[in-house]
Amino acid sequence: MARAVTRRRKLAFTLVGWTIGLTLFFPILWAILTSFKSEGEAIASPPSFLFFHWTLENYAEVQARSDYLLYALNSVVISLGSTGLGLLVAIPAAWSMAFAPSKRTKDILMWMLSTKMLPPVGVLVPIYLLFRDFGLLDTRGGLVAVLMLMNLPIIVWMLYTYFKEIPGEILEAARMDGATLAKEIVHVLAPMAVPGIASTVLLNIILAWNEAFWTLNLTASDAAPLSAFIASYSSPEGLFWAKLSAASTLAIAPILVMGWFSQKQLVRGLTFGAVK
């Protein structure tokens, strides 16, 4: 199968590949570097790439001046909360559709998908008004609910495609072996589906963490997650580039690492199983 690749060809591709990779990554790298500069060096022209006075003061400043940890906590609560709640509802639903499909299963799946196609802006007004009237504006609970509902179709779909790959015969074997439904799910399905459930969780945390429509429109300060907090740098705090960079670096770092780990599963989740 494998054929020898000439060293020259490989070298050429290495060069091109790394150049493009670094170029695309550069904005992130630049933000990370800037976060270690003083404000003066951050806006200096010509810019200094590595030889500047490295400092951690921006990170301290971001926390001291704007209570960064509160926003980070909001992000964590909102993304974990919406994902956890979503799983709770989605696992039984996906089990049903994967292992006891009916004539309508396909229609239900398609319909769930279609709710995801609804542009958020189309329901902005009613959701905003409902939130206002029920006192949910700027609350974590409200945001958890909205993000859970928004991503529920993706969670159901991802789990469904993973469950589908588990042969029904194994569950039937468990049934023949005397397992009740609960035992069947706990002892057989769940352990087998761990990788699938894990990647579903990862993708949903990523999506919830980066969500920036509802978070911007439904929160102000108390429940604002990082995506909304960073937006406050658009003016006039935006002048402080080093602090913006520090806040940004902190906001994207955990999700970037998660994304790297889940890149393979991501494709399936984002394409609703259409590309594996």
Binding site: G17, G122, Y128
Partner: protein, 290 residues
């Protein structure tokens, strides 16, 4: 393919998800539709009255709507063009064997994980700033006058920012599809005397067709809703130069408090998105049977 007992249990376990999504869809949708026929402004409470299709007339004949529609289409089209062409190119590149392939792959997909507010602000300030931005510095290095990206070419700037975030998505999906291509097919074509270009045109590209369609459709769904990038960079301006439909509706609702008008806009946005959604859902549905 199961017993009655299992089916009953299944229906019971499916119902919470279905009910939640049903409520989540019907209630706001119904309200949007209802408001869209009302004269309803939050600044004038108690003045709600039936307005017929007035809101639609206002919204659709507002010159800002035409601008926003054109901007939306340009934004979607521009980002699609960059990401699909770039994605195919990048996927083909990363698919080649070279040193550090895995790391380059990580570098390339990274922008996708950057939240929109961060990417927009990093680009706005540190790259596109007319004085201190890196682009200005590079332009001066070539002896050119730096341009004020977000003021003079706001839409293009936003296209660049958004495309940077979505290029990894396209690349990742095309790459996945590329790697699922049966090597023997390529080898068979090679035995049949096809050159590298012919193999790409007759084997690889047709194999990618499905993935490309998926990329186009899914990106379109998301790109029709681009919002945060505009909010933190240009606020839709100057004028309406970078206002898209979501931003227009947002402005109508939460800046002008015109609930009726914004709702009519919301209905229009839903109709637009559904045109794309119909195609996407059909395609995924077809795949479900395969």
């Amino acid at each position: 393919m199961a017993t009655l007992h299992t089916r009953t249990t299944a229906r019971f376990m499916l119902s919470p998800a279905v009910l939640l999504l049903l409520v989540w869809m019907i209630v706001p949708l119904g309200m949007t539709l209802y408001f869209s026929f009302l004269r309803y402004n939050l600044l004038m409470p108690g003045m709600e009255a039936f307005a017929g299709i007035e809101n639609y007339q206002f919204f659709l004949t507002d010159p800002a709507f035409m601008d926003a529609l054109v901007n939306t289409l340009l934004l979607v089209g521009g980002v699609l063009l960059i990401t699909v062409v770039g994605g195919v190119f990048l996927a083909l590149l990363i698919d080649q064997p070279f040193w550090g392939q895995g790391i380059v792959r990580l570098l390339v997909i990274s922008p996708f994980f950057v939240m929109p507010t961060v990417s927009a602000l990093v680009w706005k300030n540190m790259f596109m700033h007319p004085v201190n931005g890196l682009f200005a510095w590079v332009a001066r290095g070539f002896g050119l006058a730096p341009i004020d990206w977000l003021a003079s070419v706001p839409l293009l700037s936003i296209v660049i920012i958004v495309a940077w975030g979505w290029l990894p998505f396209a690349t990742l999906i095309i790459l996945t599809a590329l790697q699922s291509l049966d090597q023997e097919q390529k080898e068979a074509a090679e035995m049949d005397g096809a050159g590298a270009l012919s193999i790409f045109a007759y084997i690889t590209l047709p194999h990618l067709a499905r993935a490309l369609t998926v990329v186009v459709l899914i990106e379109t769904i998301f790109l029709l809703s681009v919002f945060a990038e505009i909010l933190v960079t240009t606020n839709g301006g100057p004028g309406t130069a970078s206002t898209n439909i979501p931003y227009l509706i947002y402005a109508q609702a939460l800046l002008q408090y015109d609930i009726g008008g914004a709702s009519a806009g919301g209905v229009v946005a839903i109709v637009l998105a559904n045109i794309v959604a119909v195609f996407l859902i059909r395609m995924i549905g077809k795949n479900l049977e395969a």
